[in-house]
Subunit: 316 residues, 2 copies
């Protein structure tokens, strides 16, 4: 899919987008800026070519990501008859919460490794830092002008998935695309402020509570948030976004595991690792998944046994 | 100093560097990666042209910045006779701690606004995101090949001064230079890890203690570290670097004030602000100083009265 380091868009995908007139664009549940921004950028682009798009997400766009231009267009009810589907930043209907629905045709655009065999056209490039990078090249091939709204969406998509150019998926190509998006109207400081400096006071209070639970065992940092902590602070699970990353600041920490109680004794676990440590493999042992350095799973257990079962798998 | 958005190097500076054979390169006290990286990059470059350089800093390079290639070359004693001086990332002898010394000739390369009238050649460009950006263009003009060691130093310089491409000084030019430095051998993830993920466990414990002191008054976040907290955790004032920035994550916080006790009832205060709020002006009222969004001062008082005197000045 690559020639000279640059992503090559499959010709079949270009024909599909050129030939059809109306699309359903769907992305994964709990959407973050790569999902939202890639979908919005593609929607704006296709509409500029005279197409009609319906943007679907099962979950509401969380308050902090509503600065993304056009995000009010997302719906979680589909009334149109069966349409051609473009699935972004995920590669299965389950991940988008639309299993069982019918589509006349389907294309998948994703940078996660394939887990499911879905899609008439599958464009999956795990070497792309973000789905936003793939959409950027796609829009170029479609001959779409990168407007300011497209640029803000794609820049945000790439920023979130590279930790604003800090993770190991950051390369020269990513920075060059970033530069082009800035020239098209994306403001890096405005986007960073929206991504990182819009915490509510109660969310920050919850973070402090979570950090107070820190326990370090053999280079693994464990933190947690209980249902009671959510209640005391008036927060919800969406407020714990990014909490798992804080303990990574410590030099000797190789894995950060963050547990949040989404129901009584039912935990959602986020794993973050450094370098070559593959937490996706660990998450898979618990029927979860993700990327090498960022993965997750769910487990029904007491906190203590959830922690222990994880530590046992890590030490193995 | 600019044409077409690109920095223009003064011809006088190029002649000076080409004509002399030996240089003293000095930078500011308490050096951070823009100071260290710019100086090292220029030193490596000049030596590749057959010149001799002596690298001076009054203060030792702190442990966390010793990943910068060549940093062991810094000395804080000058035994050579009077040399031509290149002053980097500052623009006065006082700021470098070398007031009273003599130089045969002097050139200043800096992106801070001029405060002092010093230097036979003054190349000061406040529009440059980092002194590292200026040195990058200077090396291009000198025809020096950007080696891996130069690239790591310059990328780190630019990364620290733009908050790794998050601050308002980030623009397309900065990302393009970043891309070129990556191609020359700088590894963004390795550099970010060294800049942001090398905290000791005790430093992280101190951060949690500091965050537990959070008090919010009229959009001002106040946190502190007492002498006892340093003792309990076995940490020192250098471990509090960056602590003042955390409360900025909250949307409604306009100023973050962080107090650390450097002696019994003697406090060093760091102020951080967002947007147009000028904390340098507030710091000046206490005989301190700094930049618009990052300033500081020292005060002898009890914690309570130190806090109150600050809040009174802010609300004024």
């Amino acid at each position: 899919m690559r020639s000279g380091g640059r992503v090559k868009v499959p010709p079949k995908l270009l024909s599909f987008l050129n030939e059809e007139d109306e699309f359903l664009i769907a992305t994964h549940i709990n959407p973050e800026p790569d999902a939202i921004g890639s979908s919005l950028a593609l929607s704006i682009a296709l509409e500029s070519l005279g197409k009609i798009t319906v943007l679907y997400d099962r979950d509401t766009i969380t308050e902090m990501y509503r600065f993304l231009p056009g995000c009010e267009k997302f719906t979680n009810s589909i009334t149109s008859p069966s349409l051609p589907l473009i699935l972004l930043d995920c590669n299965s209907l389950e991940r988008a919460g639309i299993e069982g629905m019918d589509f006349t045709y389907s294309a998948v655009i994703d940078h996660h490794e394939t887990e499911k065999d879905f899609g008439d056209i599958k464009w999956i490039d795990p070497e792309s830092a973000a789905t936003g990078m793939m959409v950027f090249y796609l829009l170029k091939e479609l001959g779409v002008r990168i407007t300011k709204d497209i640029a803000v969406n794609l820049y945000s998509a790439i920023a979130i998935d590279t930790g604003t150019f800090r993770y190991s998926n950051t390369n020269a190509e990513v920075l060059r695309v970033g530069a082009e998006l800035i020239e098209a109207g994306a403001n890096p400081a405005y986007i960073s402020k929206n991504l990182y400096e819009t915490w509510s006071e109660k969310r920050f209070t919850l973070l402090i509570k979570a950090l107070n639970t820190l326990e370090i065992r053999d280079n693994v940092a464990i933190t947690f948030v209980t249902g009671d902590m959510f209640k005391e602070t008036g927060t919800g699970t969406e407020d714990t976004e990014n909490f798992a990353n804080f303990p990574r600041m410590m030099k000797d920490i190789k894995i950060s595991a963050f547990f949040r109680e989404i129901n009584n004794n039912y935990w959602k676990v986020s794993l973050r690792s450094k370098g070559d440590i593959n937490v996706a493999r660990i998450a898979t042992l618990f029927n979860g998944g993700g990327h090498k350095n960022a993965a997750g799973y769910e487990i029904k257990a007491s906190l203590e046994s959830a922690k222990e079962s994880l530590l046992t798998r890590i030490i193995q």
